[in-house]
């Protein structure tokens, strides 16, 4: 197989990685804005795509040092880069399928380390740089962003004490602006990675062949203009395609967020990304935003943070480097076997990607249902408190299993104190008139659903209830004990 064909395949694969990077990380900038209703979902990804494109074209500093000193660049061949891309793409697709926000940067670095290790041996990998440039920032990023977001949220809500209705509206506008800037910063940081990868391949191929083709590139030179353009377009297209699964986890899965909190999250993330870029640390935007979301959740409603989701995400982060590295290593060994091995890796990539896409189709997440939470709060009223947890009878068939209900206050309209809340996503949409037996010992004791936060919100409207459980006067009826019409079901 000629070097030109290999270079062409690697460049296309790099653009595919860039695309997956875009849709995987679209959530970083826009998840909170979509969940708080600052932007409509489609509007959010379009704006994020434009800002990513602009960001990718703003700077090429990172592109010149893509491996960041993690591996010996002089030993990296186009086959190794190809294998690394395959590892990173597959890990990105796998975590997307699970809806896990993991770092695309760590995926490509892990896969590059694995591929280089498998082909060139241990000496080609600079282990200390892996610790100082990947592992340490991965620990520090969410922590710092979380603290910043925690404090910023406290400040924001201190100013809102006793504030009249509508006071949060300006935070919505501010959040719109801050999320655009996070998208810009993301484009600046991540758009360059693909430029760097393509540049690395072009340099490697030039050195290998001594070629002076139009695509040839001398070591240490700036990326070609067409590389900047296609890399920027690929990440922008990826961002526009949405990555709704991850957006749902980031915006709804970890904590319930209001507009002032969204602004605190975006501002903390932006500050962390800009500061780290300036001081030469490559923080993952995914880690930064995830940490900030947990920080704001802890600051406002500590009991509302979904630690199970956070734990799954942390496990994903820990696994990213070794898992992508393992796939990268396997792909590199195959790709180095010659044309047959190279094509085999390509086929494996296409088949695996198609299989993941097929699996994802079973539980489709799109712009229309991105704000549906995995758990819903159900406020109900009952004639008497249940003597057993509401996990049996007809209710169980719809809502089971119920989670501990002590984390949220009772709904003020419930006739009897009943915190029927934080239930796993129902198998069917609940309506405000639904009635269920809740007590196995006393089948006559039923609960009437008053309202849920499950429906996708109108982005222009305030949430149906505030997070402390108080009903929003604009969306609820004040009659005591009466069933409240649910928000628009979708």
């Amino acid at each position: 197989m000629s070097i030109e064909i290999i270079v062409l395949i690697v460049v296309i694969t790099a653009l595919v990685f860039d695309f997956t990077n875009g849709f995987h990380d679209a959530a970083n900038a826009m998840a909170t804005s979509v969940s708080t209703g600052a932007y409509r979902p489609k509007q959010a990804v379009l704006l994020a795509a434009v800002m990513n494109l602009i960001g990718a074209c703003l700077s090429t500093e990172v592109a010149k040092t893509i491996s960041s000193g993690l591996v010996d660049d002089s030993l990296v061949s186009p086959q190794i880069v190809f294998a690394a891309l395959v590892g990173a793409i597959l890990w990105n697709l796998f975590t997307w399928l699970l809806g896990l926000p993991s770092s695309s940067s760590h995926a490509i670095f892990g896969a590059l380390i694995g591929a280089t290790l498998a082909v060139e041996g241990l000496d080609a990998v600079h282990g200390w740089n892996v610790v100082s440039k990947i592992l340490l920032p991965a620990l520090v990023a969410p922590l710092v962003a979380g603290i910043a977001s925690y404090l910023a949220t406290k400040v924001a809500y201190a100013s809102l004490q006793n504030a009249p209705k509508g006071s949060k509206r300006r935070f919505r506008d501010a959040q719109r602006a801050s999320s655009l800037l996070v998208a810009l910063a993301h484009g600046t940081a991540d758009g360059q990675k693909t430029m760097g990868i393509i540049t690395l391949v072009l340099v490697a191929a030039t050195v290998q062949t001594g070629s002076t083709q139009w695509w040839s590139q001398a070591p240490g030179s700036e990326p070609h203009w067409w590389v900047i353009l296609v890399a920027g377009l690929a990440i922008a297209l990826g961002t526009y395609s949405g990555g709704w699964r991850i957006m749902r986890t980031m915006g709804k899965g970890m904590a319930d967020i209001e507009q002032p909190q969204g602004f605190a999250v975006e501002t903390s993330a932006m500050a962390a990304i800009l500061a780290s870029s300036h001081f030469g640390f490559g923080l993952s935007t995914t880690h930064v935003v995830s940490g900030a979301v947990i920080g704001t959740g802890l600051s406002r409603t500590p009991g509302e943070v979904r630690w199970r989701t956070a734990r799954n995400m942390a496990i994903g982060w820990l696994l990213t480097l070794p898992a992508a590295g393992l796939v990268g290593a396997g792909a590199a060994v195959l790709a180095e076997m010659g044309a047959f091995g190279f094509i085999a890796v390509l086929i494996i990539l296409v088949v695996a990607a198609a299989a993941i896409k097929l699996l994802a189709g079973r539980n489709h997440v799109s712009a229309s249902n991105v704000n549906d939470a995995n758990e819903v709060k159900v406020f109900g009223k009952a004639d008497a408190p249940p003597t057993t947890p509401p996990t049996q009878g007809a209710l169980a068939s719809v809502l089971a299993p119920a989670l501990p209900s002590s984390t949220l206050p009772n709904h003020p309209l419930a006739a009897t104190p009943l915190a029927l809340t934080r239930l796993k996503k129902p198998k069917k949409k609940l309506k405000s008139t639904d009635t269920f037996p809740i007590d196995a010992a006393h089948p006559d004791n039923t609960v009437v659903v008053l309202e849920t936060d499950n429906p996708t919100k109108d982005p222009a409207a305030d949430p149906p209830t505030s997070l402390d459980g108080r009903p929003n006067p604009a969306t609820t009826q004040p009659q005591s004990g009466a069933a409240v019409p649910a928000e628009e079901d979708q």
Partner: protein, 80 residues
Amino acid sequence: MTIDWIALLQVAIVTIVAAVAIVGLMSLANWLLGPVGAESPPSAGRRLTGQVLIVVMALIILGGLYLIVHEHVARLLGFG
């Protein structure tokens, strides 16, 4: 090889201070621009101060952005 702990600490401090400062400015501006008491609108002085704070906040953010792109921008403008 050593880890640049000082730089890491600087990142942490700058992040926390900047985030709190920006959100603080926005919160203060929001408070100043909001109605006073029950329904009465803010005075001209409050409104102006609130708007100035929003401009200051925007300038801080733009300054941060400039830090990471200034070399490229300088090259584009022919100063690099």
